[in-house]
Symmetry: C2
Subunit: 208 residues, 2 copies
DNA sequence: ACCTGAACACCGTTCAAGT
DNA sequence: ACCTGAACACCGTTCAAGT
């Protein structure tokens, strides 16, 4: 029997399931993001992600070295979202002092409205050395750094390495976010709105 | 056959393995503390704890409802240790301002020298509603609260609910501790000694 | 090149049964 | 009352084999 002439290869590929085109990686990340939001970081399993993407349990290992690397992809998307939120605020024309306070409030708001992402981003189960994660994290931090530099130029903050100011600032915001998500502030009788708490604390830390 | 007269019951109990006296709970907690320090929070398993205590995998369930409750016991011991560290500082006669700064430095020092405990204490895997955990946590927090109240009485800090000052203070310290343990500050180019960072930031937040 | 099937070495948790 | 043995329903990860 003579072989049928081959249908053009790209077309053949296209008739397969979407995931076989080489974007299974994207599909897995997408499924992972949804799963983290649905079940939280504790209910997150590689097998369930594979199930949702409609592939075998071994398939993800073609695209991610291990679970920690898939979680890093989730965290990266988290930092991208956080960065977008912050850069939208940095783009608004506003009093420089107010801008820093707004950034702080936006940071905390994003964290408490995305507690699952936030826990993954700062948890100990993800691959902290993932290059994409590092750059996404740095970019979000740079938004804070930029606002501080602008305040320094306007003499609203003392001169010197802006990191010396950004370090405590980020620590304060992360502390408020993380103790709020963990309900730790609640447990010791602090029931303030975390955004208000952030604004007051930032004022004291930076502009007292 | 006549039954032998019973040997005194306490004596009979004492001849068994030590764990069968009713202190298996303590033995399990002890093993758990050691395991967390050896393998970190990720390598911590209930089965390994049981193995180290020399009992079956089901035995721990007589004393702890689940893994989250055993982790709460570990966290409780962590807060007890942290409390001891802080109360030793609060007991020293010193300038009240210096005492608050010293408390902050001690908090951060304890955290970064016990990263595994610290991650369990503020992680999402433990039972946060455990009563012992709640009181141990509150006691540690009260040490900070007390120092703030003393500063208020000496007019070194503004009057009002001390929690309004303690909240941001704890958040700042927790943020520094947690971002240091996670190497996040490092990744954005902040390589300061966390204790020095804590002191500087506390000065700015409280005594600027 | 990319995915599947099947296996390996683990988990947390439950429960009848032993003492 | 307290613990064991054995099971159940999962995990993450690996690897030969398929296409």
């Amino acid at each position: 029997m003579a072989r049928q002439p081959k249908i053009p290869e790209t077309s053949a590929d296209e008739r397969r399931d979407a995931y076989h085109h080489g974007d299974l990686k994207r599909a897995l990340t997408h499924a992972a993001l949804a799963l983290v939001q649905e079940k939280g970081p504790k209910g997150f399993t590689l097998r369930e992600v594979a199930r949702r993407a409609g592939v075998s349990v071994a398939a993800p290992y073609r695209h991610f070295a291990d679970k920690a690397q898939l979680l890093a992809a989730v965290a990266t998307q988290g930092f991208v979202q956080l960065h977008e939120t912050l850069s939208a605020i940095a783009a608004e024309p506003a009093d420089l002092t107010k801008q820093v306070l707004d950034l702080g409030r936006a940071y905390v708001r994003w964290a408490v409205t995305h507690p699952d992402y936030y826990q993954v981003m700062f948890g100990s189960e993800l691959d902290k050395n993932d290059p994409d994660l590092l750059t996404a994290g740095s970019r979000a931090f740079d938004e804070l750094l930029g606002a501080i530099v602008r305040c320094q130029r306007a003499r609203l903050l003392s001169d010197g390495d802006p990191r010396e100011i950004a370090g405590p600032t980020w620590s304060l915001l992360h502390g408020i976010a993380s103790l709020t998500i963990g309900r730790d502030l609640n447990h010791v009788g602090i029931r303030d709105d975390p955004q208000a708490l952030a604004e007051r604390a930032l004022r004291a830390l930076l502009f007292a």
